[in-house]
Symmetry: C2
Subunit: 74 residues, 2 copies
DNA sequence: TCATATTTCTCCCTATGGGGAGATTCTATC
DNA sequence: GATAGAATCTCCCCATAGGGAGAAATATGA
């Protein structure tokens, strides 16, 4: 499944869905990717005020096993 | 052109190349996407210490016109 | 060479992402 | 209802992304 995302909201939603699909709790995810439950809860919840550093996204990416792509027109 | 990126380094390199392809200076890009030249210079240069907020990535994405995709296996 | 534009840098500042610890609320399951 | 796990929240803290202003260093061109 490949999807483009145009906002942090969208991206975070995809990440959360993915985590649940894999049956992983925030606590487990935190341990697996060297983050704190606090941090994960902060960006998964708190609608509207979600913000992420790219390094955090990469940590999660590795653990949840998805790819990030950039598509340049032409 | 579609490419996956596995690190901030890679992503930033792609962004910089894209900017140059379009013949846009850091100063112009800064104005176009409501960032400061300072900020842009900071992540484009300073190899190794690059870090980005997702919101910044989205601003640049819109201006340079590329898409971001997430690919979930299965 | 000289002039101009571009990029990178320094300092200082503010805003905020993410951590720790602990309390509270949701959600199941019995 | 009770107990347990998960998720969210509050405080407080630290590290740092990004801004402003300006200087220095690197192209680029006449």
């Amino acid at each position: 499944m490949k999807k483009s995302f145009n906002s942090i909201e969208e991206l975070v939603t995809l990440i959360t869905e993915r985590r649940k699909e894999l049956g992983i709790s925030q606590t487990e995810l935190a341990k697996l990717c060297d983050l704190s439950v606090n941090g994960i809860s902060k960006f998964e919840s708190n609608a509207g005020d979600r913000e992420l550093k790219l390094s955090t996204l990469f940590k999660i990416r590795q653990t949840l096993g998805f790819k990030l792509l950039i598509e340049l027109e032409e």
